[in-house]
Subunit: 237 residues, 2 copies
DNA sequence: ATTACTAGCTGTCGAGTAA
DNA sequence: TTTACTCGACAGCTAGTAA
């Protein structure tokens, strides 16, 4: 992903051309589409379709390789971002409040063993009991996500979770974190913790649970684990 | 909702103006917004914003009442439809496969007592046992939805459910139906049946369950019932 | 068959301005 | 302050055509 082009910077007519490509499956894989075909879809001329493709490519929103049988077009990550921006805007404003679940898979890794310190703070613990409905084991399990699940983490963060308020004790202050109720390996309840200012990289999920997960599932570093997280769309009415 | 204007007929630049209005909360309630304010949001001139509003109104996508303090703008059902069309397109193509839950509330009504006939057909029963995981009580419960839940029914239908295939017996043929696994009154598992060619009006949900719900909850016609239905976004990858 | 250039047309934009 | 008109400028469109 190069320079991020906000969807707002993409002119409306080009955005709709990009959308037409999306509708024709150019998101995940390159798609064979001629300028004549695209013009039919857009309801314009072949010349305009051609120009749109040139401009979209120039802006880095699509990749193409042109052959005599028609161009091979694929939307870039940057293009997907421009589309997703509008998707999120529409969802925010049009969708009812619903719960959604997102499934993650990853492998167990060792963290910095700081989790225990934070979780055992009464300020956090009390809220977890109250809002998540369980008394957390004093420690967190770190899950390194598969590459293909990185995008899902962003999806999860775009959902509403349970907010655990920050607080102060004698020594220092602790920031707010969000928590998404989760089901671990289809079996154990728990939660995913997302700190608003995280010290972890985005490919690691921090998991809490009422029980000691490493022991319960006999987990060693590198073992696979599945986590099903729940969040809400935000309500706007 | 008058003549249905497909989002495809709305010119890109007008669609984006409509989207800007949505982002500013003009979906559910009228919103006070002057042409100067709108022009700032759109990054254009006051004159263009004014023209866009005129055109959107002409097309029936918004309603306005103009006052000296700035116009009061509300997006019409038709306008919402034009926005939703794009939302659904984006969702279909960008979203991962996730389960979503939708909650319905309604009151128990008497149906035509045909449910028992259909459910007891082995062709349906076997599939329900296999795909839903329970042996259905031979009958359906009809739930008359609240007005505000009618839209949710469409949301539910836009999700993927479990398909119960049609079949033939000696006498006649039976059509396919879709079923959405559900939780009734937070307690009993069951499913919502949506026939592809329904004889019921859209404000009535047909519910199946392994138990006789009327007896279990001591239900009389007019009693309230809550149903939480689960469906999947369609996968496109 | 393709894509994409040039030329000329059309429609959108925005400054000025009226109501 | 508003909204919205007129009209000159030009962005984006299409037809014709080249490669």
């Amino acid at each position: 992903m190069n320079k991020q082009i906000s969807a707002k910077r993409v002119k409306p007519y080009l955005w709709f051309s990009l959308y037409a490509l999306l509708e024709n499956g150019a998101a995940s894989k390159p798609v064979r589409i001629s300028t004549v075909e695209l013009s039919k879809i857009l309801g314009g001329s072949q010349q305009s379709a051609s120009r749109h493709l040139q401009l979209l490519e120039e802006m880095g929103l699509i990749n193409r390789s042109i052959t005599p049988e028609g161009g091979l077009v694929r939307i870039t990550d940057c293009g997907i971002a421009a589309l997703t921006e509008i998707l999120n805007g529409l969802k925010r404003n049009l969708e009812e409040d619903r719960t959604e679940s997102i499934e993650f898979q990853g492998v167990v890794t060792s963290g910095l063993f700081e989790g225990a310190y934070y979780i055992s703070k009464e300020g956090y613990r009390r809220q977890i009991i109250e809002k998540l409905g369980f008394d957390p084991y004093p420690g967190t399990l770190n899950l390194k996500l598969r590459r293909e699940d990185l995008k899902k983490r962003k999806d999860l963060e775009s959902l509403l979770g349970v907010t655990i308020q920050g607080f102060k004790d004698e020594e220092r202050s602790f920031g707010s974190v969000r928590c998404y109720p989760s089901l671990i390996n289809d079996q154990v309840e728990g939660g995913i913790i997302i700190a608003d200012r995280t010290i972890y990289d985005e490919s690691v999920l921090e998991i809490i649970s009422p029980i000691y997960l490493r022991k319960h599932f006999s987990l060693k570093d590198g073992d696979k684990l599945k986590v099903l997280a729940f969040g809400y769309n935000r309500k706007e009415k």
